[in-house]
């Protein structure tokens, strides 16, 4: 390609660069920081070693354009950040610490090198913030859209791993932060897209929605919660991250632990901005919290003997308690009605 042509194209299609050069270009600034990482990008596999007293954890998540994200309103950098953080969240949900990450990226020819740079910048930023080493991956072409696959390994102290199956009757049910905000952010972004399509000159006024949009585009994971629990000597009896909505996660914990539960509407933490968005869209805030998804807060159970300690930890809400399996799975409303919760969480199909 001659220089003239190059000047007239502001963005570089990935096809101009080739696979090996693109990978090198995107990964050349990655710095390894964890003592446990021995070799990162650039060989057949990455090499790491975990602490002798620990167990290793592994989790993976797929993000598919048109299913999990819409590039029209998700900036690439945010997408990269989120793809990393949702996996860290799964490691925290085991009471572990994420340490190494590999990412597979498949892109159609419509994506530019600049878009890839932004995507990688987001993944690298998330890794830096959470102390994770980005150690490898696969970059390839796709006939349509973008597919992102991220796998994270981490470690946990052997006798402190929190499974979904460890809850017992009388355990307190707790959740970090607040719920429903990420889905509220999605509602706002989807509305903006429709408005923009109808009138491209429309200037969005998004400030009143800053919190919920941030929760949708740039979720943070449960590190702070895990650290606070550890500092207070609390090991949850069971734990899961809230990716598909509170209802779905409560059912996962209780089914795997073979318990029932009672949670109280009035105890479920919902941010005022989430409530006002719900009102705008004529939805109940509780619906967003129960079925919204993508909050990436931690839902966990704690032995009732630790009630006093638990109450002193900021940012954690006690929303109910586990009961015997045969006593059912109920949400108690503010009007004191008991509503049975059944599977209706987000499903990809």
């Amino acid at each position: 390609m001659i220089e003239e042509n190059k000047k007239s194209t502001p963005y570089k299609p990935v096809s101009e660069m080739g696979e090996f050069k693109l990978i090198h270009h995107l990964t050349k600034n990655i710095k390894l920081k964890n003592k446990s990482t021995i070799k990162g990008v650039g060989d057949d596999a990455a090499v790491f070693v975990h602490d002798k007293k620990s167990v290793s954890l592994i989790t993976c998540d797929f993000l598919i354009e048109g299913v999990h994200f819409n590039p029209r309103y998700v900036p690439m950098k945010h997408l990269g950040y989120k793809a990393a953080v949702v996996n860290f969240s799964d490691i925290y949900a085991m009471n572990g610490k994420p340490l190494q990450m590999v990412a597979g990226v498949a892109i159609s020819s419509r994506y530019t090198v600049e878009a890839m740079e932004e995507l990688y910048a987001g993944m690298i930023l998330a890794c830096e913030r959470y102390g994770v080493d980005f150690v490898g991956g696969d970059t390839t072409s796709s006939p349509q859209g973008m597919q992102l696959s991220v796998t994270v390994v981490g470690e946990a102290v052997k006798d402190k791993v929190c499974y979904r199956s460890g809850a017992k009757p009388n355990d307190l049910i707790c959740v970090s932060g607040d719920l429903g905000a990420a889905y509220a952010g999605l509602l706002v972004l989807q509305r903006e897209e429709q408005t923009f399509l109808a009138n491209p000159n429309h200037q969005p006024e998004l400030e009143p929605y800053d919190y919920v949009i941030e929760r949708q585009l740039k979720p943070e994971s449960g590190r702070k919660t895990i650290e606070l629990l550890s500092q207070n000597g609390i090991v949850p009896t069971s734990m899961i991250d809230v990716s598909d909505g509170l209802a779905s996660e409560l059912l996962h914990l209780s089914e795997q632990s073979k318990t029932g539960f009672r949670v109280f509407e009035g105890k479920i933490p919902i941010d005022p901005q989430t409530c006002s968005v719900a009102e705008e869209f004529k939805m109940a805030p509780l619906t967003l919290a129960l079925n919204g998804g993508e909050d990436y807060e931690l839902l966990f159970t704690v032995d009732i003997e630790q009630h006093e300690v638990l109450k002193s930890i900021p940012g954690i809400s006690i929303i109910g308690h586990m009961i015997s399996d045969t006593d059912g799975r109920y949400l108690i409303t503010d009007a004191d009605q008991a509503i049975e919760l059944k599977a209706q969480g987000w499903t990809a199909f």
Copy 2:
């Protein structure tokens, strides 16, 4: 859906089942066998612990419909098998042993539950044959086609990990098995597809191509080679798996090791069936070996002092030797011509 309707559909669309049920359905028969696997499918992350004297290895690969496979001539079970084995191959290429695997599968609504069962059956079979535990993953929908992402972790003895960068001048260059067969198989399958499209009544006569088609559809990885080398006390100075063609892999090893090389046309192992397919397609067999890709043999270098031991190991060909970086990277033809090898391996874009 009423019973009548159900009977009239022989295949079940994945949408009838929902995400959680489908995952449970596909993974319920997975048995964990490695002592190092503590918890498999069913929680936020899988849990494992590697041997105290070892390092852990991690690798991932993306397989995209329309780029890496064509479902018209790749049976789903073979696809699953191959998706697993190509990752095991990367772990063997580090002189390690694959132990745990996670897989992400994204599929459009055109795929049936039966197709998913076949895909999983292939992945599970590969895991059983290679002693790997299938410990988790993500199953989701895709607007178009299928995308498969497989990540494998393994372990290696700390001071026996083989990087791409360890070769030095005078080291012997070795390759396992034979090269070019997988690409020969692809040529035959692509021709059959065209013939079938032109005449759907055409009955293919594939027996003369059994070996090369098997190499394309159901590649095996380097476990046997790794075991033979270990039994003979050989630790390669550098190693890589042949996924993109011999030329590309030789350049990777020599660039990362900062060496030159001389390899000899007459020493490159090519199966007679590969040669006859090459002839049919009016191509040089050497081209298939150099640039064909997907052979998943191991290319490695060994200190010249181990020449005698090496010669006694079946299935390994010594094809040349490393030289000083400044002496260049050459293929010496049977006519004694020196051809400089430059990057031209398979590129995904």
